[in-house]
Symmetry: C2
Subunit: 153 residues, 2 copies
């Protein structure tokens, strides 16, 4: 594992994560009708920071291995879709299109998880929290959409 490779992948994560700082949840998000199981606000940056560290670790473990083409392709796909979700949800307030982005992100993360497992046990395990979190985020996005169809932009 090359530490500089780790930091370049981590920079990609924080490039995607910068959308969270640029499109912060404001009055609009506060005013949405959310399900009782919605995590408190502080959980989101903690979860994402943890996930970003884990998937940068995973990528840097497998990037130099033989046969890592699928793992790298899925890693690239998930980070692009990850960067896309926040501007669609918080920027455009398009709750339904955000669900489509999350559905594609979930598939990309599933592909990344499986292809990392094929190469390295620890890299695969490092993707599990991400897959769980995107599942929760997807369920939350669907629930919020159903409860607030009239609030959509």
């Amino acid at each position: 594992m090359d530490i500089l490779v780790f930091f370049i992948f981590l920079a990609a994560c924080f490039g995607a994560g910068a959308t969270g700082a640029l499109f912060p949840p404001g009055e609009w998000y506060e005013s949405l009708d959310k399900p009782a199981w919605t995590p408190p606000d502080w959980v989101f940056p903690v979860a994402w920071t943890t996930i970003y560290l884990l998937i940068a670790f995973a990528a840097s473990r497998v990037a130099s291995l033989d046969g890592s083409a699928y793992a790298m392709a899925f890693w690239s796909l998930q980070i692009a879709l990850n960067a896309l979700w926040t501007p669609v949800f918080f920027g455009l307030k398009r709750l339904r299109e955000a669900i489509y982005v999350l559905a594609l992100l979930w598939l990309a993360v599933l592909g990344a998880t499986l292809s990392h497992f094929q190469l390295d046990l620890w890299a695969g395990l490092a993707f599990i929290p991400y897959l769980l979190w995107v599942t929760v985020a997807g369920a939350l996005n669907v629930s919020v959409w159903q409860r607030n169809r009239s609030s959509e932009a």
Copy 2:
């Protein structure tokens, strides 16, 4: 070169490129004071589509090669920053922050170009139009910022 790997990388490109459809140039962009050398609107989607095809080709050529860790890390970094720029410029209308994103994108594309050249001549060459285009886009972003400081959000 694995054609499925190519299409996953291409999907990542169109995930990033979807920001262009979601945050289209509208009245605000039309009303900006732009330099005489600004390309006409139709050039942008043509340039990006060409670049996306080229860099998906480049990634799929090198992804399975030994020692492709840096190439893949820089590829991931550039696609995350690529997805970030449009929401910052067209969504938030923050012309100055958009310059910072483009400066980081330029460095990521330079890193990707050099690391792809190290592995494969055609993959490196495929990145050259991207590097040139981001240079033009950066110059345009700086010029537009200087001419329209009062139009910033």
